[in-house]
Amino acid sequence: MATMTDTAIAQPAVRTRKPGSRIGEFAAYLQALPLLVILGTFLLLPLLMIAVVSFWDYDFAAMYPDFVTFNYTETLGSWVTWKTYLNTLKFAVIVWMITLFVGFWAAYFLAFHVRTSAMQTVLFLVCTVPFLTSNIIRMISWIPVLGRNGLINSALVDTGIVAAPVEWLLYSDFAVVLAMVHLYTLFMVTPIFNTLMRIDRSLVEAARDAGASSWQVLTNVILPLAKPGMAIGTIFVVTLVMADFSTVQVMSGGQSASVALMMKNQMSLLQYPAAAANAVILLVLVLMMVAGILRIVDIRKEL
């Protein structure tokens, strides 16, 4: 019924289209051109080049345009690759779970417990303060805190809680996860905060009117409605962690590996085609993960 009326309305509009509207169409494409040029030059073209290079041949000194598949067979056939991918996925899953938990509660606090919108804005800006400095500096600043003679260890030793400094605080998977959570939680807070702010407060009242306890309101109303924000945050965090190499390198002290770090090493050995093949595999994997997330949660209404 609704669609019938829609088409009934739409049809005359098509028929009465003015002959001059071709110019209007052209103008619309013209307006889209700058973005197309930027995306084409800086995104599509490089991606295409990576895909092309991934089929080239190389030796220690140069690359040779060719069409060979051994870059892929070598990468996929090596157990080191599989281990590295698994390690990266492990980081992605752990960091995702922690940032989702921390991010949701931070956003929940901001959206539902901070009364005034002025205070909300202030607190939200406080959340972004770490972004005023670079990733690397924020990461490195963990070293004096976590190191063998760092703040935490000296405090623990001085108070006699431990006899010798705790070794796993720095240059470990723990340190990598800690730094990543620190770096990426805001990417989870922002979209979740955004969805929570859009939840009609009368829905919470309606749930209370129906006898829901605070916990029931959370699980039956707020969590389901926050899903799109969680999905967007998840996409941010997962793609960032999957592509990370600096955090892994610095915080694990070279003891842990990630896919991006592996690529970086290949590039420093001038094995560009191998790195390109690796990049294509990573891209496909991340796109599949994003597609999976989008299948589970409908985020269209958030965009």
Partner: protein, 362 residues
């Protein structure tokens, strides 16, 4: 089907920081009454409703529902159900789950609660849409879902916060009739907040006119219309002219007042303080064109505006000390004579059509 509860509001106040939204109001709503809280926005009617529902804390005073003082009870334990202004349907749930929500909160088994919800949807003639989401429904259908969701808790009183304000005028009138029918068949107490006097008159057994956090008048619609208690009520209900002046004589149930520049009017009412301020109300539909039979029951006015309304014509006059005086004439009477804007016309009304209005202690 359901037990109805009397609602007793005893000197209830609501203070938000510095401002007082509701000032020590007292009201008894008999069981099974359709009660309308009527007033302009910001008059405290919604705060009052939300205090009855338990969504707003009560600053002072008590509310009793049936035999239970519910002042400090959470919403779900009061035996009330609220229907929200924007319906507040859960967008992520289909109609069945929306309606069954309160049963789910109580821990009723899935099959049982879905069955009950379907029965309720059938009652509202919505079972065909049971698996749809609220966003796929029209405004009127959403409202019926909200009603179903509220009624499934089997409440003693249903609280409606401007339930018809989101609907288009045609649907508003249809849903109004549906609400009234529902209230009659369920027999439970309805408390309905509205700013439309037409809606209140059409629905209510008891109209409570509120202004500035106080109750101006609580009475049956006919009483509120025919004998408005205060100037505010008379103006808000419409169809009344309010004339303000000072009392110059009083006796035998008739008060004479004098307006600012000399004119004197008579109205029915209790004795008033001589020299004190007095407001009287004159029904707009009782004003006739012609000289009064008796002094004090009319004046000469200059036509300032004429509005044709089909079966009636609305004329506005300015006169000695009286401004924006309205007369509603039926079209036949109006077109028998020629009246134009700017004409001076004698106006009159019957002795019973002017009444003295009370004043609320400020």
């Amino acid at each position: 089907m359901t037990k109805a509860a009397e609602i007793d509001i005893a000197s209830v106040s609501k203070v938000y920081g510095q401002s007082t939204a509701v000032q020590a109001i007292s009201l008894k709503i008999p069981a099974g009454t359709y009660c309308c809280l009527l007033g302009p926005s910001g008059c405290g009617k919604t705060s009052t409703l939300r205090m009855i529902a338990g969504h707003e804390s009560i600053t002072s005073g008590d509310i009793r529902l049936g035999n239970v003082v519910v002042t400090d009870l959470p919403p779900a334990r009061r035996g009330t159900a609220m229907m929200f202004q924007s319906y507040a349907l859960f967008p992520h749930l289909d109609l069945v789950d929306n309606v069954a929500f309160s049963l789910k909160m109580k821990g009723v088994e899935k099959d049982e609660r879905r069955q009950k919800a379907l029965d309720m949807l059938r009652l509202m003639q919505l079972e065909a849409y049971a698996t749809r989401r609220p966003a796929q429904l029209s405004g009127g259908q959403q409202q019926r879902v909200a009603l179903a969701r509220a009624l499934i808790t089997d409440p003693e009183a249903l609280l409606l916060d401007e339930p018809l304000s989101a609907l288009d005028p045609f649907l508003k009138i249809r849903m109004r009739a549906e609400l009234k029918r529902l209230q009659t068949s369920l027999g439970i107490t309805f408390v309905h907040v509205t700013h439309s006097q037409e809606e209140a008159m059409a629905l209510a057994d008891l109209i409570v006119v509120m202004n500035d956090g106080r109750i101006e008048q609580a009475a049956a619609p006919r009483t509120v219309f025919e004998r408005p208690a205060t100037a505010f009520v008379a103006r808000f209900m419409g169809d009344h002219n309010v004339i303000s002046g000072r009392a110059v004589a009083s006796g035998n149930g008739v008060v004479t007042l004098e307006v600012a520049n000399g004119g004197q009017f008579k109205a029915i009412g209790d004795a008033a303080d001589i020299g004190g301020p007095v407001d009287i109300a004159v029904r707009t539909d009782r004003v006739r064109i012609g000289h009064p039979d008796q002094a004090g029951l009319g004046f000469n006015g200059i036509v300032s505006n004429i509005e044709y309304r089909g079966s009636t014509v609305k004329l506005t006059f300015d006169g000695a000390g009286v401004e924006d005086f309205t007369a509603i004439l039926d079209d036949a009477t109006f077109f028998q004579q020629t009246i134009r804007v700017g004409d001076a016309v004698p106006l009159s009304w019957g002795g019973a059509d002017a009444i003295v209005l009370g004043r609320v202690a400020a």
